[in-house]
């Protein structure tokens, strides 16, 4: 111990701080801060980027108290299943208190990244006016704001570099928010407004792009037609990430030819997306940029037939990431497997959610082809018509490097399409082979056996999504007991109950959160858990058919429809709406 102390005093603080500068991952920084008091103190004053995976695990005051020099904040609000309409809109996750607290305490905020949070125009206005060095705003799956809020950002953030809006629900106020960027604004590097539904001032956009010489990423919305995009791209040949708007024109027209020529000049484009509206016959215009493309997202483009997709993809030999609709078909995936040898991430989304046009879907065949042709594959999201254990076993053998594996059968309880058995063995093979697996979503007919495998083999697993699976509490217990690194567990419509919930209550302190809906847990068990674990917030969402009178206390045996629990340092949240009960 003496030696240690001597060594520590050998390094002056400035040196340690300099060393800490090289630590960028928040996990590394968290680890470093636990070494000793002086390192904790040093680290907290030097930390500029803070990541908060659950906005209710801490509060703004504690953030500011511990990290007074924070410049970049990432916050996540609603639980993941909110994406699928399982959480009411006004559940919470309002960013306003955070912005307000940072304003009052003189925080020099430069970057704000929000996911599944409630963002009002007032929040955006306060943000825009309070932080003179504000540079970057990234909003993913957020709601609550309108184009008026965007206008405030555009008008006031003089050094704005990044405005990135991904899949948000934004109310369009028909204002001219784009025109609000002053002529003096030349700092934009990234502008993504693909999710906006309304018209934009195309002339203003053109002038904005022309004066932002550092612009690298531009993703427009469907209201920007092909002709306009062509003119804009002439002013931004340096672009490396392009999201088109409406890609519809007569393929033989002058405009289409001009577009092809302009794109030929954009030699830095590596990422392509958009096609929010597309005439497939216009696609050849993008062939010039396909050769160097590493990322392609056609998942918002309905109505491109498999043949046209194949023709396009055959030009993309360097593709590392592909997001596509299942209209590509197994045959199309075969073409991807033959062409895209560098592929690391594949997402195949369902094109027809109502099962009317089954011919469009993909099956286990497509996945097997991909696994055989793309050995670097490490991230998968695959919506499919059917699956087999044999296919999954083959995939596991071909691709042992999966970090993320999410399989979603369109029928949530469909068994092996050939043997009619549950898909336990298939997923078992995946977890056994992929030793680095961090995220897993299972689907199809599954018994407790699959969870035995997961608990036994998925040592690095951090996030697990379960739906319509399992036979008994044993399933959930296998997972809770086995997966030591589990951080997020979300379960719906599965027969897991109180015995599983209460068997190891301390486990939840090692996790970020647990979601259980339409399972077998009762009110009494949730109350017991809440009483025994004061460091957890156990919330019940009480709505719909399940609704119980607020005045009466529900029977302990009453089944709970939706429960969300999470560890927290700050006790029950004070902004919970009426239908959310913290036990």
């Amino acid at each position: 111990m003496c030696l240690f102390r001597d060594m520590m005093s050998y390094f002056p603080e400035e040196v340690l701080e300099h060393v800490f500068d090289f630590l960028t991952s928040h996990r590394d920084r968290n680890a470093v801060s636990l070494v000793c008091k002086s390192w904790y103190s040093l680290e907290r004053f030097s930390r500029e980027k803070v990541f908060i995976g659950n906005c209710y695990a801490v509060n703004p005051e504690r953030l500011i108290a511990r990290f007074p020099r924070v410049r970049s904040l990432t916050l996540k609000g609603k639980p993941h299943f909110a994406d699928f309409n399982l959480v009411p809109h006004d559940w919470g996750g309002d960013v306003y208190p955070w912005i307000e607290a940072m304003t009052k305490n003189g925080i020099n905020l430069e970057e704000l990244r929000l996911k599944r949070m409630l963002v009002s125009d007032e929040s955006l206005e306060l943000l825009a006016k309070s932080f003179p060095n504000f540079k970057s705003l990234v909003l993913v799956s957020c709601e609550g704001f309108t184009t008026d809020g965007l206008a405030a950002i555009a008008s006031n953030c003089r050094f704005l570099r990044e405005l990135d809006l991904q899949e948000n629900e934004v109310d369009d106020r028909k204002g001219h928010w784009l025109s609000c960027f002053p002529d003096s604004c030349t700092s934009l590097v990234s502008l993504n407004f693909a999710c906006l539904k309304g018209e934009v001032n195309v002339a203003a956009l053109e002038r904005l792009v022309a004066r932002c010489h550092n612009l690298r990423s531009l993703r427009v919305n469907h209201a920007v037609p092909l002709e306009a995009l062509q003119k804009i791209l002439v002013k931004a040949p340096q672009i490396n990430d392009l999201g088109t708007g409406s890609f519809v024109h007569d393929p033989d027209s002058e405009t289409s030819k001009k577009m092809k020529n302009t794109l030929e000049n954009c030699k830095s484009v590596r990422s392509l997306s958009g096609f929010l509206d597309v005439n497939p016959h216009c696609l050849p215009a993008v062939y010039p940029i396909c050769t160097d493309l590493t990322s392609l997202n056609l998942s918002y483009a309905p109505g491109i037939y498999s043949n046209e997709l194949i023709k396009l993809i055959c030009h993309c030999k360097k593709l590392e990431r592909l997001w596509i609709l299942d209209t590509i078909g197994d045959k199309g995936l075969g073409a991807v497997a033959s062409t895209c040898k560098e592929l690391q991430e594949l997402r195949v989304f369902p094109s027809d959610l109502y099962g009317a046009d089954n011919a469009a879907a993909v099956t286990e065949e497509g996945l097997v082809s991909i696994s055989a042709g793309c050995p670097k594959l490490n991230s998968l999201l695959y919506f499919c018509q059917q699956m087999t254990n044999a296919a999954l076993i083959t995939v596991a053998k071909n691709c042992p490097n999966f970090i993320r594996f999410r399989l979603c059968t369109l029928n949530p309880v469909i068994p092996d399409a050939v043997t009619n058995l549950p898909l336990d063995e298939g997923f078992g093979a995946i977890v056994q082979s992929c030793k680095g697996l961090k995220r897993l979503s299972v689907s199809g007919r599954l018994t407790d056996q699959v969870f035995l495998y997961i608990g036994m083999y998925a040592e690095q697993l951090e996030m697990l999504s379960i739906a319509f699976a399992g036979d008994s509490d044993k399933g959930m217990l296998y997972v809770l007991n086995g997966c030591k690194k589990l951080k997020k567990l979300e379960i719906r419509d599965s027969p897991f109950g109180n015995a599983a919930l209460l068997s190891d209550m301390g486990k939840y302190e090692t996790m970020r959160s647990l979601w259980m809906s339409s399972c077998e847990v009762t009110y009494g068990a949730c109350k017991t858990l809440a009483e025994k674990m004061p460091t957890l917030n156990v919330e019940i969402i009480n709505e719909g058919e399940d609704q119980v009178e607020a005045s009466s206390s529900p029977d302990a045996r009453h089944r709970v429809e939706k429960m969300y629990l999470y560890r927290t340092l700050v006790g029950p949240r004070r902004d919970a709406p009426d239908f959310v009960w913290t036990l």
Binding site: N85, L276, G303, L353, A356, D357, P412, A467
Partner: protein
């Protein structure tokens, strides 16, 4: 989920065929389901397939997608085309020509006398109409299915007589 019997159709449960073992805790995929009906039952489940609300509005069933059957005389299979994915008749013909691997359908519009094909469609009233007379939007609104007739199949009849024949056939099949 509601416990009353009426909601049973929408309750998804798991289990082996025949509903063996496990007691009440097991969930069997609705007993109300019999092959082919499964897709409808899946629709009844909230939040499945797990696709973000934003995506649901974009592709697949979002805003008025309109798939109609297209039959081509002499072709062994019918195809389906999404009318909302086209902006005009020319676009539509290009797609049809690609699907069936044939050419010259668009000529039918310009020169119906000499063209090899007669593209017709069945409208909401059940009448068979020649493509191209009405504005595109009106056509998309009223088209139920399409047929590309070969003139040679018309057996010497003028197109208009053939359409009348078709109309009669449909009346009979409805009775």
């Amino acid at each position: 989920m509601a416990k009353n019997g009426l909601a049973l159709e929408t309750e998804l449960r798991l289990g082996l065929p025949g509903g063996g073992g496990g007691g009440e805790k097991k969930r069997v995929f609705s007993d109300m389901i019999s092959g082919g009906e499964e897709e409808k039952a899946v629709v009844a489940v909230v939040g499945w397939p797990p696709v973000r609300a934003y995506r649901r509005k974009i592709g697949g069933g979002g805003v008025g997608k309109m798939y109609v059957k297209v039959s081509m005389d002499g072709a062994p299979f019918l195809r389906k085309i999404d009318l909302t994915n086209h902006k005009c008749y020319s676009d539509l013909f290009v797609s049809i020509e690609q699907l069936f691997g044939c050419f010259g359908i668009e000529e039918a519009l310009k020169d119906s006398e000499n063209s090899e094909y007669s593209p017709i469609y069945e409208d909401k009233d059940g009448d068979w109409m020649l493509l191209g007379d009405v504005p595109w939007e009106m056509f998309v609104d009223s088209c139920k299915r399409m047929r590309i007739m070969k003139r040679s199949d018309a057996n010497g009849l003028q197109a208009i007589d053939l359409l009348k024949e078709l109309g009669k056939k449909d009346d009979r099949s409805e009775n």
